[in-house]
Amino acid sequence: MSMGAHETPARQDGQAALRMTKLGRRFGGIDAVKDVSLAVPKGSRFGVIGPNGAGKTTMFNLLSGELRPTSGRVELFGRNITRLAPNRRVALGLGRTYQITRVFRDLTVLENITLAVHGLRKSKLSMLRPWRSYSTAVEEAANVASTFGLGERLNITAEELSHGEVRELEVLLTLAQKPEVLLLDEPAAGLSPAERVGIRALLRSLPRELTLVMIEHDMDVLRDVVEHVAVLHFGELVMQGTVAEVQEDATVQELYLGKPKVAES
């Protein structure tokens, strides 16, 4: 699964896939992320929770490179990537999805995923043959779609998909690049429980060797997928532990009960 497109950084066993050290980001006078130190072991599955505005998405932006941290560092498989451009991080096997879906709305599902497949290859610049004749890439795209539930929707444009399917496509775009570390930002955001069925199935079927960090408010979805949970509050890491531990923790309950859990905007 993890072969192919990306350059494989040198790594040792037992090393953290992703390590944040005193990571921080200020906006004006506000610390959106403050002094977060967290190691995500290879192959582990982390959930990130916290009230709205806790800094979860900002933390992802720091990890993916879309924002530069104001302090601290980020390592991917032991390599310092704190100042690396986003597309370079993608090439190193770090994939992410977006809370607000960013699919190619007027392209078909197959076109969407094929774009992703070409993304890490030189073929993305090739001009001489129809993209549909690059059969490995197209098959790979179709394969990704069918493995994860959109196989019957290949020729439908993204804007014709249901909300739930768009959420799935959002994840598939990244999965098609075979990331080794996957950051999921509220993959079920904005979906009713009924609409979540598809995306939950997709999340459950993610390959086991994938290192996963997932922001999610919904405890049921979290329990499906992750073992560990980190809790952010006002940009700070307030606790981490197993799903059960975190759920029973008094401060966490306060955090969420004080401000009732919001499904998502």
Binding site: P86, F104, G119, S133, E139
Partner: protein, 371 residues
Amino acid sequence: MKSPSAAAALNQVDDASGVIGVVDRHRRLLSILVGVVLVVFAGVLLGSGGFYTSLVEDILIYAIAAMGLDFLGGYGGLVSLGQAGFIGLGAYGIAVPEAHGFGPWTSIGIALVVVAATAAVTGIVAIRVTGISFVIITLAIGQILWGLAYRWVSLSGGDNGLVISGFPKLGPLDLTNPQVLAFVILAVFVVVALVLRTLVSSPFGLSMLGIRSNEQRLRTLGYRTGLHRYLAYIIASIVGGVAGILYAFSNNLISPTTMDFSHNGIITLMAVLGGLRSLWGPVLGALIITLIQQELSIYVSRWQMLMGAVFVVVVVFTPDGLWGLMRQGTAALRRRRARAGPGDAARPDAAGTEAGTGQSSATESSESGVR
């Protein structure tokens, strides 16, 4: 790595398009047929000599330029208002060297180099922005090129322009002969159309669609989108320059008017009127507007007003231009027909020929890449 599930998935592609697959295939045949008929018709008119020859030549030349513009604007979302500038550049690229004693073939080479180099330089500025700002910048670039032609009198002959003196000759291919020239223009048109068709359906073309749709996401999928926009800008400009080279030989004269604001706008009008994001659209637009310009203007003195009005109406009511309107029409018709006869006899046949050949269906639908 042809895994069974992938093959299954691709068969799904067929199933999804199965109902309309055969109609689609006929449509493809139809569109090839229409293309061939048009080319033959153009050929007959071109061969007839006289007024219609130059009319068809103009249509073809502007169609080439508009197709180039469409590649950038329709597929990449970067609508240019400077395409006539590159027509002018191509034409002056012929006229100026010839005035300095270079032969026609050398001049063609110089013209291509000048066009490519200018595109490469202006592109650095143009790709700094997208959307509305891109339109504005290309307008400014067009005005610079026009201003150069207008004011650099010692080189360009200023307002009077320059006459084209030499025509390339290669064995029987003698461009001094208007018939031959006409067919060369037709041939270049066909070649450019085929090249652009390949381009828009290539992975690079797909990336242009991605840029238009959501550039930011494409960037986080590993694309250097600036590079893609840059290359597309250069390609579109070179296509404009090629149109300009043909213009020079067809018109025998190049003056700044050819590349003024009004002409820049007209090429954009052609592409949009006909319909962006399809290569037939700009051809249709070039046909209609050139006809209004040259044919209707004989009877209606206010042809410009008419052209503007037609254009405004089309932009207001049909976002995808006339070609888009026709496609919508046929699609609606197809849906009606599909509903009327679900037991379409051709269907099993479709499944039979297309099963297991995912790739053939892939090229099939890439046909619609030339939307």
